[in-house]
């Protein structure tokens, strides 16, 4: 049916490409590639710079394996929450209910453990809480309500639920969870392993699986997904569910680290997670983002806090430094984007017929 000869007569009627340069440059100019490198990998450069700076300044306490695991441990927790925030933002929804979900999940798990249930069951229940809260968030937001407002409402509900379940006090004595808290495997604390696993799975999911790619597409342009015959709504809910599960996981890991489940939904969680995500260059408009960069963002934050504390400086300064870094990185991102666009437009001999570039 597809007669290849049909192509030739129509090609004969094609107008000549108006552009002068027939040179088919296989790669984009160096300047563009350099700028894109800066935008994509800039945060890694920043991290490396920080490591060097603190190694010199906080000598000899900073540059040691022990300290590295300490930083990684602190970063792991922020990273777990950061993954949830990032996926939410990518899908087009800032999930502010994360602290509440973390608290409820931790309290449910703790309650079950103190009642003698097996640990795996308690953990599963905690994660299921994340699924349920996420699904509720998604389904309600689908009705047309602003997702931020929906998640704020859910934050109140989950905070209250956590207080109810825990009876107002923290639930201590969760030594059974030490295997995922302060225990080390190959000298690396458990939370680091958990975060690493989460990010590996998450990155593969978002970049190589059908549902992950569709999830990112929904964040970028939900209409495009619908026109391809795929239910955009289903993937929006999936985004919330993933965010909820990450929140629950974060709550469980926190409880394991301190062997205590606190019903206090700490709003600071959102702040640090969001900062890590923003440092990683995930735009609030959604549709794009790299999970590994979020991991680096979390590491940057933890490094700053660690370095400053070692030097005896109040970590509040760390918050200030981070804030400035964030603004600087936003400015850099904007500058790089405009530079790249300008250069692309200038170099674009974009003709359909001039071949690949």
């Amino acid at each position: 049916m597809m007669n290849p000869e049909l192509v030739s007569p129509s090609e004969a009627r094609m107008p000549e490409p108006g552009s002068a340069t027939p040179a088919t440059t296989e790669r984009d100019p160096l300047a563009i590639r350099g700028l894109i490198f800066l935008r994509d990998r800039g945060i890694v450069v920043l991290f490396a710079l920080l490591l060097v700076a603190f190694s010199i300044w906080a000598n000899p306490y900073f540059a040691s394996w022990n300290n590295a695991t300490l930083i990684a441990n602190a970063a792991a927790l922020t990273a777990i929450y950061g993954a949830g925030v990032a996926v939410g933002i990518i899908c087009g929804a800032l999930d502010l209910s994360i602290p509440g979900t973390a608290a409820v999940a931790a309290c449910v798990c703790a309650k079950l453990i103190t009642q003698g249930q097996p640990v795996w069951l308690a953990l599963l229940a905690g994660l299921l809480i994340g699924v349920v809260v996420g699904a509720l968030n998604g389904l309600i937001a689908l009705r047309g309500f602003n997702p931020i407002v929906v998640t704020i409402g859910m934050l109140s509900i989950t905070s209250a639920a956590a207080q109810l379940i825990a009876g107002g006090y923290s639930i201590p004595g969760l030594t059974k969870l030490q295997f995922m808290g302060t225990d080390r495997y190959l000298s690396i604390p458990a939370p680091v392993w958990i975060a690493a696993g989460l990010f590996l799975v998450g990155t593969l999911f978002l970049t190589h699986t059908r549902d992950g790619l569709r999830l990112m597409a929904v964040g970028g342009n939900a209409e495009a997904v619908r026109r391809s015959g795929v239910s955009a709504e289903r993937y929006k809910v999936l985004g919330f569910v993933i965010s909820g599960v990450c929140a629950a996981l974060g709550g469980l890991v926190t409880a394991a680290t301190v062997t205590e489940a606190s019903p206090e939904a700490s709003p600071g969680i959102i702040f640090t997670a969001l900062t890590a995500v923003a440092l990683a260059g995930v735009p609030l408009s959604g549709g794009r983002g790299s999970l590994p960069r979020v991991l680096i963002g979390a590491l940057v934050l933890a490094t700053i806090a660690n370095g400053l504390t070692i030097k005896g400086i109040n970590p509040y300064w760390g918050t200030g430094v981070t804030g400035m870094l964030l603004l600087a990185s936003l400015g850099l991102e904007k500058w790089v984007s405009t530079s790249v666009s300008r250069r692309l437009v200038a170099s674009a001999q974009a003709s359909v017929h001039s071949g690949t570039r």
Binding site: H208, R214, V225, R227, G229, H353
Partner: protein, 262 residues
């Protein structure tokens, strides 16, 4: 280029009426397009051409009238139903996912999974997808940027091409489908319009029925086999492009020229 007389038209509308209260958006419209035919739908603002296109795409249900696809009566309850019947519409807003590359955009919704256990987990065979897309675009005679180029880095014309190709591959096949285009060159410059024109002609040559709503008279005269002009909800002209000229068409559009069917 034209349908053989023995085949039923790809898409046929009979006596389509569209009322909104007392307003008659469409009044007893007959329309047909054959396989491999390119029909231009022209008219001034408010003439009803967008409404008619939406009826064809299933977005609006007509107040009365019949729709037939390949000779069979259909009633579209939603755009999805129209898509199942083989009709694809390309809207003005293109709806491409900027952050993803050409291959991902073209394969959205019909991804190729890897063989074996990775496939069960949902892993996508991106190499195979790229190869398939390249082949499909070749068939359409389209050469574009590399499959791995993010869509946001394409020019307006290239993006239009990707959007058209995305719909075109979904209507190509044994039973070629119907492609509806809403102002495909509205935001494009001269050269880019030429590119899109070529693509439309190539698609028609492959048997796809194409209906184009446009304000661009030059485009219509160049690429369409037939022109249908609407004026205030009524069809005032249905004529082969070769049998008419600019002045006549403009006259029908503005109403200066009397309807062919008066």
């Amino acid at each position: 280029m034209t349908t053989t007389a023995s085949l039923a038209p790809a898409l046929e509308l009979s006596a389509i009426d569209m009322h909104y209260g007392f307003v008659r958006a469409l009044d007893a419209i007959d329309f047909h397009v054959g396989q491999g035919e390119v029909v231009g739908l022209l008219g001034d603002n408010g003439a009803g051409k967008s409404t008619l296109l939406k009826v064809m795409s299933g977005a609006h249900r007509p107040t009365s009238g019949e729709i037939r696809v390949h000779g069979a009566d259909v009633a579209f309850h939603s755009p999805k139903a129209a898509t199942s019947a083989g009709i694809q519409m390309v809207y003005q807003d293109l709806a491409l996912v900027d952050a993803q590359d050409i291959s991902t955009n073209l394969n959205l919704g019909r991804e190729i999974l890897r063989k074996g256990p990775l496939g069960w987990l949902g892993f996508v065979d991106q190499k195979a997808q790229r190869r398939r897309s390249e082949a499909e675009l070749d068939r359409l005679g389209v050469r574009t940027a590399a499959m791995t180029r993010p869509v946001e880095m394409l020019s307006g014309g290239q993006r239009q091409v990707v959007a058209l190709a995305r719909s075109a591959v979904r209507v190509s096949g044994d039973r070629s489908g119907i492609l509806l285009l809403d102002e495909p060159t509205a935001a494009l410059g001269y050269e880019q319009t030429q590119q899109v024109q070529s693509l439309i002609r190539r698609m028609a040559e492959q048997g796809i029925a194409v209906v184009i709503v446009t304000h661009n008279l030059a485009l219509a005269m160049d690429v369409c086999d037939r022109l249908v002009v609407l004026n205030r909800g009524r069809k005032v002209a249905d004529v082969a492009t070769t049998a008419t000229d600019n002045d006549q068409v403009v006259g029908w559009i503005t109403g200066a020229r009397a309807s062919m069917f008066a």
